[in-house]
């Protein structure tokens, strides 16, 4: 594990939405959606952190909190170890210059009425200065534009600058969205499911591009997805989110190959796997017997939020919320099964990868 200060970190990040759309100035403050509850994250330069979890687990909310788009209910966001200042336009702009976000849906994140040139020019003018100090314009702007498009492999740039979003393919649009984020020369890219709306064949191009940016420019990337296989492939570390809480975190390979938390196991077992000739994945899911649905975020169950669906759950799980417990160096799980507590559940060692059963995970 790198010991350098993370460029962006979150401690105890919490976000509660008012229930019922929050538009009514109602007198029922108690009703809140606990979208994100005490999440810790660290983003390091030149590393990709994947956040996986099922729909509604709070992944996007985390990203938007980190991007400063919605106010934080609790916890801190640290930029270079110092508390990030988001209040005020100047501070906010200084912040977004370093932390940029890519939205999930390339079809929605570009304004259909503006050509590529407008979208990128705005980003450039907002964040870059001319060498002489003034607002970027003229030839210098043009050069920056070209350079930006080339960075996302949209060459020749002239073919794309004057196109409208609807004239571009999904992959091209997503590249424009990335280019916009890169215009600020950010140190952190928050990519909220950047490929989920894209086709399998295009996905790869975008992921490779992100990996390339990480490697070439040393950008820290937060990669949000619910496709756990792509997390394995692409991310250095992976954090598993469930119902707004971190369930497990560790390096991607071991999280995907030897999941510790029962939820991670469920997730991995559920993922379709063509190599799983024996159907062990399906069998595992059946064995886990985890019917049921994610918990209500308005009244989250006390204790471990996964307890209602967890086959191993004990009274301890149902009564007390587990902290993240470091199981092996660099790997932790929020499961009582890895604690020394009385009445802890026996989560055993369910591995879904027959080829990799030998890997050990200290219990």
């Amino acid at each position: 594990m790198s010991t350098s200060t993370p460029v962006l970190a979150a401690h105890g990040l919490t976000k509660h939405f008012r229930a019922g759309g929050g538009r009514v100035s109602g007198r029922s403050p108690a009703r809140a959606i606990h979208a994100v509850d005490g999440v810790d994250l660290e983003l390091h330069r030149g590393q990709v952190l994947a956040v996986v979890g099922e729909s509604g687990s709070g992944k996007s909310t985390v990203a938007r909190l980190l991007a400063g788009l919605i106010p934080i209910t609790g916890g801190q966001v640290l930029l270079d170890g110092a508390e990030a200042r988001l209040r005020g336009r100047r501070a906010f702009r200084a912040y977004v210059r370093r932390v940029q976000m890519i939205f999930q849906d390339p079809f929605a994140s570009l304004n259909p009425v503006h050509p590529v040139r407008y979208t990128l020019t705005r980003a450039l003018r907002l964040h870059r200065r001319q060498s002489s100090g003034g607002t970027l314009r003229g030839a210098e702007l043009e050069a920056a534009l070209t350079e930006l498009l080339e960075r996302v492999h949209l060459t020749p740039a002239t073919r794309y600058v004057d196109k409208f979003p609807h004239e571009l393919s999904g992959g091209q649009r997503q590249r424009i969205a990335i280019a916009r984020a890169l215009a600020a020369d950010p140190e952190v890219l928050l990519a909220d499911e950047p490929v989920s709306m894209l086709d399998v064949s295009i996905r790869l191009g975008i992921l490779n591009l992100l990996a390339d940016l990480r490697d070439r420019l040393g950008i820290a990337v937060l990669y949000i997805t619910h496709d756990i296989a792509s997390a394995r492939y692409f991310a250095d570390r992976t954090t598993v989110l469930y119902a707004g809480q971190v369930m497990e975190t560790g390096d991607s390979e071991s999280v995907t190959q030897e999941p510790l938390h029962p939820y991670t196991r469920l997730l991995i077992a559920s993922a379709p796997d063509p190599d799983d000739l024996a159907g062990t994945g399906a069998a595992a899911v059946r064995e886990q017997g985890t019917g049921g649905e994610p918990p209500s975020l308005v009244d989250p169950p006390p204790g471990c939020r996964f307890a209602p669906r967890c086959p191993y759950a004990t009274d301890l799980c149902r009564g007390e919320t587990p902290e993240l417990i470091e199981v092996t160096p660099g790997r932790s799980a929020a499961c009582w099964g890895y604690s020394e507590r009385e009445g802890r559940p026996d989560v055993g060692r369910v591995s879904t990868d027959s080829a990799n059963v030998g890997g050990e995970a200290g219990a």
Binding site: G20, G21, V24, G26
Partner: protein
Amino acid sequence: MRFLLRRIVFYALTAWAAITINFFIPRMLPGDPVTALLGRMQGRIDSNAEHSLRVLFGLDQDTSMWQQYLDYWGLLLRGDLGLSFTHFPTPVADIVSQSLPWTVGLVGVATIIAFVIGSLIGTFLGWRRGTWADGLLPVATFFQAVPYFWLGLITIAVLSVNLGWFPSSGSYDRGLVPAVSGEFIGSVVYYGFLPALTVVLSSVAGWVLGMRNMMVTVSSEDYVTVAHAKGLPERQVMLGYAARNAVLPQVSSFALSLGFVVGGTLIMEMVFSYQGIGYTLYQAVSTHDYPLMQGCFLVITLSVLVANMVADLAYTLLDPRTRTEDR
């Protein structure tokens, strides 16, 4: 039921605003009922009598606007709308209650007929779009754009004066005294037919167009395709699935369009010499009969509000989503 509660607060607010606007508008602007009245009498009143009229109408005392406003509220709460200037000394409430039922009856029936017919035609056009039925659209737009009074007057000229099929004015045979008798009701229907027809003719097009558009949108919704896929009879798909959902926005705009409808009424009543509230308002406006003006406007607004509430209620019944909105 938060939804309804919110609506009720809104209605209360609107009612308050209407009442206040209603009070201030006529008073903030220049003009004087007595001179207007004298003018209307065109020499029948000696000009020396002007002063006596002022005394009569209580226009000579200088109470502050605020005091008048408070008094106004006090009276309103007691159901007292004041005395009409022009029909002095008849209470405004009497005039209003004499004319309101006619408007509500005629316009209500005509509007509902127009809504139903328009929605049915619109359903059909939307369902059969791309066929000859689309040819009806230009006709609809034309009728939508025809000035109401023009339509009314031409109808009178043709159906009433030339062909003599319908009476040209009045709300029932002038020889009859209102009573719950077949003869009287028949007469009301007979006299109301032409005005109702023109109201329907001129407003039906709007519903047709609105409903058609909604049908086009709704019939490409997945659940309509599913209904087809389920092999349901076409009529059931068209009415039960597509029209049933397409009518929802229509209902809410029906509520909001009532304001426009009432505007149309005013003209209709003028053209057909119908004894409704719209014409009374117009008369009051042209004679600066403040109390009557206020009374009419207030009652019209409140009726529209009530109709809105009814439509809202209907909407809530039709659309289960609103019922549980914030449960």
